[in-house]
């Protein structure tokens, strides 16, 4: 093989211009607004995850409440309303992951990857939208549940516990969704995996009944699920001042300490899955 080469035209002296240091706030806001606009364009991503939990909260839970009455002195309809948050948040976050695949297959992801901003901001922008939509959906769920007769004890500290658990759960679930979306090539395969991650754990996590009602080995399994801890804290915040759900997990008597421990567990999952998701995204982005 022959190589023909010539010297390039004499380059003009190059002055190395360092780009001005930029705040990450503006690009993060841009990426978040972009994801909002794309999500708004596909309302099914917002509406579909809401349908099953609303149905549970408004139709199924009241019907079951008639049969079961109360659990640990808590009205069953209210008990399930909080439990339904444990279905809504994972479903919404997993549906948000579809946007990652669409971005990769037919969106502007490659242009975003060529942008002079840290690539992790793309993940954080998506996360911000998943959190916002989850918050909107949780509010919609609570409005529906209250209209149907559910009752909550919304003291400020309780609301803070609830919000912290819900946010950390959403972060953990979105981290999982982002990881999955970057490792699965086809949307169909991703959607097939959604029930296994968003729905199956819900049955073991004390959503519809206390985990103390589970066989011992399933109870032990439930205690490692972030959803179990998140639901127990949420109920402690808005419904269950005696912290019976937390007691089923930790067996302690100090409710605040148990809530803090469970929040720590959910936070650890959130930190682990989010950092993993950034890593997986960055590796998937660069061939």
């Amino acid at each position: 093989m022959t190589a023909i080469t010539t010297a390039p035209p004499t380059p003009s002296p190059l002055v190395l211009r360092r780009p001005a240091a930029r705040s990450i706030v503006a690009p993060l806001a841009t990426l978040t607004r972009r994801r909002f606009a794309l999500s708004a364009h596909t309302p099914r991503e917002i509406v579909v995850p809401l349908m099953t939990p609303i149905l549970f909260s408004v139709v199924i839970a009241p019907a079951l409440a008639k049969v079961t009455g109360a659990i640990h002195g808590i009205d069953y309809m209210s008990f399930v309303a909080i439990g339904t948050v444990g279905l809504l948040v994972p479903l919404n976050c997993m549906f948000a992951g579809i946007g990652v695949i669409v971005d990769r297959q037919s969106g502007a992801r490659r242009d975003l990857l060529a942008a002079p901003v840290p690539r992790s901001l793309i993940v954080f922008g998506n996360l911000a939208v998943a959190l916002s939509i989850s918050a909107f959906q949780v509010v919609a769920l609570f409005v529906a549940a209250v209209l149907r007769g559910a009752q909550f004890d919304a003291r400020p500290t309780g609301v803070v516990f609830f919000a912290a658990a819900a946010v950390l759960l959403a972060v953990a679930m979105y981290g999982g969704a982002e990881i999955l979306a970057n490792r699965i090539s086809k949307q169909e395969e991703y959607i097939g995996a959604v029930p296994a991650i968003a729905i199956v754990p819900w049955f073991f996590a004390g959503s519809l009944f206390p985990i103390s009602a589970l066989p011992t080995f399933l109870g032990a399994f439930a205690k490692v699920l972030p959803l179990t801890h998140a639901l127990a804290v949420m109920r402690y915040g808005l419904l269950d001042g005696r912290a019976t759900g937390l007691h089923d997990i930790w067996g302690m008597t100090n409710a605040t300490a148990m809530a803090a421990l469970s929040l720590l567990v959910v936070a650890a999952y959130a930190a682990l899955l989010l950092s993993l998701s950034v890593r997986v995204f960055s590796r998937a982005a660069v061939k």
Partner: protein
């Protein structure tokens, strides 16, 4: 890629020409930090793409081979997002966006969602988007692939217009010979991950003579080539690929060369004369054809 090395001058339009799989897009991927190099160094405007990728990305923009736009958003919104991410001053970005939309004939489409655009309109939008940030280095990765001929020629006019932006260095990958000849100041011909030739298209073509004669030989083409050389009808730059002999003509007219060859006792299926193309340069260097 294997041991490639080239430098592009500021303001130059530089082409990477080669067939699919030659390594052109991989090269662009490494320069735009979407492909991780395993060895070597590359600098964009002095910024090392591996050590300082953000700085390298801040001086460049890319038009990718595959469509890379948000179809659900309007054309203007796509440009605005790019401008924000590239740090274009918000007070001037609106004007910059209006300017490129005008330049690329997209002003009337700007408020429509991109999914309603034709293939050519999308491509124009992608090039316009890349220019919004006034990049010092613009990468165009096979920008006309998949477009119908009319739109392709329209787009070539637009890309040719980029030459007027003297401050912008353009790196263009293509497997279309006419694009490389028409648009590029210099062309690197890429074959199996290596650069096999690098020069101005006119100089690469000049090495093939003003014309060349092509013969389809019935029988041993190498033997026929030796015979032509022995008679002084072919030089060292003539070559045989399969049953086809390609003979650059330097010191006589094409008609004279065809007549002289026809007088020899060589069984030919066909003989013709034509000006050389970059495909002939590629064929001589690699034994393969660029054009299908």
């Amino acid at each position: 890629m294997r041991d490639i090395s080239f430098a592009v001058a500021q303001g130059e339009v530089f082409g990477l020409l080669g067939p699919n799989g030659a390594g052109k897009s991989t090269t662009v991927g490494m320069l735009t930090t979407t492909v991780r190099p395993t060895a070597g160094t590359a600098r964009l405007m002095g910024h090392d793409v591996a050590a300082d990728p953000l700085a390298a990305r801040s001086v460049s923009a890319v038009v990718f081979q595959e469509p890379t736009v948000d179809g659900a958003l309007t054309g203007r919104r796509n440009l605005e997002i790019h401008a924000r991410l590239w740090g274009v001053d918000p007070t001037t970005s609106s004007t910059a966006i209006d300017d490129v939309l005008d330049s690329f004939g997209l002003a009337d489409l700007a408020s429509r969602t991109v999914e309603s655009y034709s293939g050519g309109q999308r491509r124009r939008l992608e090039i316009a988007r890349a220019l919004v940030s006034a990049p010092e280095v613009l990468f165009l990765d096979e920008p006309t692939v998949g477009l119908d001929p009319r739109i392709r020629f329209e787009l070539l006019d637009l890309i040719a217009g980029l030459r007027a932006r003297a401050e912008t260095t353009v790196v263009l990958t293509t497997h279309y010979l006419d694009e490389a000849e028409r648009l590029c100041d210099r062309v690197a011909i890429v074959h199996e991950g290596r650069i096999v030739a690098l020069d101005a298209p006119t100089k690469l073509l000049a090495g093939m003579g003003a014309n060349l004669v092509e013969l389809r030989v019935d029988g041993d083409a190498s033997r026929a080539l030796r015979k032509l050389r022995a008679r002084g009808l072919a030089g060292d730059d003539a070559f045989a690929v399969g049953a086809t002999l390609t003979v650059p003509v330097h010191d006589r007219s094409a008609r004279q060369a065809v007549a002289a060859i026809a007088e020899l006792d060589i069984a030919t299926g066909a003989i013709s004369a034509r000006p050389p193309t970059l495909d002939d340069v590629y064929l001589r260097l690699t034994g393969d054809r660029l054009a299908a």
